[in-house]
């Protein structure tokens, strides 16, 4: 392996510049200055924006210039930082996972972005991002890591494609995604913020918006556009989704425009989460996430990795059994005892109670009392869905009302277990069970009856 010190591909300048430009506060500041002062002189009006652009370009150049890296026998060395220099040695055996992505910019010049994840969470950010290196180098890193981890054993090239998404599934995933609502919310927030900037009076002269219907139509088209945008986004993201198992590593590749590949070792997996959202469940689909120790390889939450975005309920068990022989998924969870039902329903009642109380006391409106009906239903449903189960070395906890999450944890992965009991619960003989796995992900089920809680506690005692 070469020992020379290297720089990233110069395209990194552009990448860094774009990144700098996207950084919120600077951009907002520059925009505000550009909007506020209108002296009429275009030069002065655009000066701050121009300066900002120049700054970003300069910073991008400097970030590239100061970023050097070097491979050595068993480790890689990275030096970066404009003002604060950061030098870092990463032993290959400490690397926990690696993911690659090809963005549009990267694809232009045929390089990849590599995301290296190490374990140390407390020190500082556990990830190193190499925004633009050649594909050969990326493979080199991967090979080095694998050699390290397998003690220079023969590299077995048997790869099993465990899972692929068909176009039909991707489409279904996109159509039923909650992301659509996210886009709508974002657009809504945008408009409520920028109300002042949009000259509604002037709009009115163009369009005769003085009746409600046209506003509604406008809103409706907005929603539909948002929905379509979200669908397209999902399609691009989850096209060609494949999971490949190669001995102890799982490789996930996905994406049409921005190709991404994530690989993580099976030993790093701390728990398996099965999510059932109502619409998908109706058609017999669920999604499966992995909880793995360390940073976020997927740009989602820390420690969470999407394994199967959407999969037939009937196939989940066998699929998981091939990937993770230690885990046994099953639907037979022990549901809670009936005395917990009232507590669940009351608890969701308390949370909404405030709205009717306020409206009745201050406005003498009684219609809001109707809100209590769905509240009771939510409570009842979360009671119905909650459950626990122990099967040999594995603990399963399930909770949620709209989307139910079932978390499967192995005993030797659980970091700590807490059983808590309030006075009220004590009287009814109920407990709350909390279990925590590695990156600080905590799961709890409320109102488990005492004897079950005791079994769990004793099960964990015999560690």
């Amino acid at each position: 392996m070469t020992h020379e010190t290297k720089r990233l591909h110069p395209i990194a300048i552009v990448i860094y510049t774009v990144k700098r430009l996207r950084q919120g506060p600077f951009l907002v500041l520059a925009l505000l200055i550009a909007i506020k002062k209108k002296t009429g002189d275009p030069f002065i009006d655009w000066l701050p924006l121009f300066l900002f652009l120049l700054y970003a370009l300069f910073a991008g150049y400097m970030s590239w210039r100061r970023f050097t890296y070097r491979f050595e026998e068993n480790e890689m060395y990275i030096e970066q930082g404009i003002f604060v220099k950061k030098k870092r040695y990463i032993p290959f055996e400490r690397i926990q996972g690696i993911s690659q992505s090809f963005g549009l910019l990267q694809r232009l010049v045929g390089v990849v972005q590599v995301h290296i994840e190490t374990a140390g969470r407390q020190i500082d950010d556990p990830e190193v991002v190499l925004p633009a290196i050649s594909i050969e180098e990326a493979d080199q890193i991967k090979r080095a890591i694998r050699n390290q981890n397998e003690g220079n054993m023969l590299i077995q090239n048997e790869m099993d494609v465990v899972f692929t998404l068909r176009f039909r599934d991707v489409l279904f995933l996109a159509v039923t995604s909650g992301g659509a609502f996210g886009v709508i919310a974002a657009i809504g927030a945008f408009f409520s913020d920028f109300n002042d900037f949009i000259p509604f009076e002037r709009l009115k002269t163009f369009l005769p918006i003085d009746d409600m219907t046209s506003t509604i139509v406008l809103l409706f088209t907005m929603l539909i556009v948002a929905y379509i945008l979200s669908i397209v986004g999902h399609l691009l993201r989850y096209m060609n989704f494949t999971v490949v198992k190669q001995k102890n590593t799982l490789m996930i590749t996905t994406g049409l425009l921005q190709k991404k590949s994530i690989s993580t070792s099976i030993e790093r997996v701390q728990a398996i989460v099965v999510k059932e959202s109502p619409i998908r469940y109706l058609f017999g689909y669920v999604s499966v996430h992995l909880v793995h120790a360390g940073g976020s390889l997927d740009d989602g939450k820390q420690g969470s990795l999407l394994l199967f975005p959407i999969v037939r309920t009937s196939e989940v068990t066998s699929l998981i059994a091939t990937c993770f022989p230690e885990y046994r998924l099953h639907g037979s969870l022990r549901s809670l005892c009936t005395c917990a039902r009232w507590r669940y329903m009351l608890r969701s009642l308390y949370t909404v109670m405030l709205i009717p109380i306020i409206t009745i006391v201050f406005f003498q409106r009684f219609e809001t009392l109707l809100l209590l009906v769905p509240a009771v239903y939510v409570g009842y449903r979360s009671y119905k869905r909650a459950g626990v189960a122990i099967k040999s070395e594995q603990l399963a906890l399930r909770r949620g009302w709209l989307t139910t999450k079932t978390v499967y944890m192995l005993k030797h992965r659980i970091q700590s277990l807490t059983i808590s009991q309030s006075r009220m619960q004590q009287r009814l003989g109920l407990c709350t069970v909390h279990a925590t796995v590695m990156p600080g992900i905590r799961t709890k089920v409320v109102d488990v009856d005492e004897s079950t809680a005791k079994t769990i506690y004793e099960w964990f005692l015999g560690n």
Binding site: A293, H412, Q415, S416, L417, T418, I419, S420, Q421, S422, R423, Q426, T436, V437, M438, P439, G440, I441, R442, Y457, F460, L461, N463
Partner: protein
């Protein structure tokens, strides 16, 4: 309560909690002491696992120290699993 293989904590007035931490999950132990606690010779003990932190508040200074050493010695013995 500290046993051979795990630490068991019991706490809470209104909500009673019992926490179980297997010893080989313990990463490190901290003792902390604020100015007031120092005046009364008290110290709080923090037990860290890879994912969680647990506090044993306001122990007697010497007892905290003793406990800290005891836990760390137990952890070392039990160091078979990374």
């Amino acid at each position: 309560m500290i046993r051979d293989r795990e630490i068991e904590l019991e706490h809470g007035v209104w909500i009673r909690k019992r926490t179980l931490i297997p010893l080989h999950r313990v990463q490190h132990v901290d003792a902390k002491q604020g100015p007031l606690a120092r005046k009364y010779k008290l110290a709080s003990l923090y037990i860290y696992t890879a994912a969680t932190a647990h506090e044993i508040p306001f122990l007697d200074e010497r007892e905290a120290e003793k406990l800290r050493h005891y836990i760390s010695s137990l952890v070392k013995e039990d160091d078979h699993d990374a």
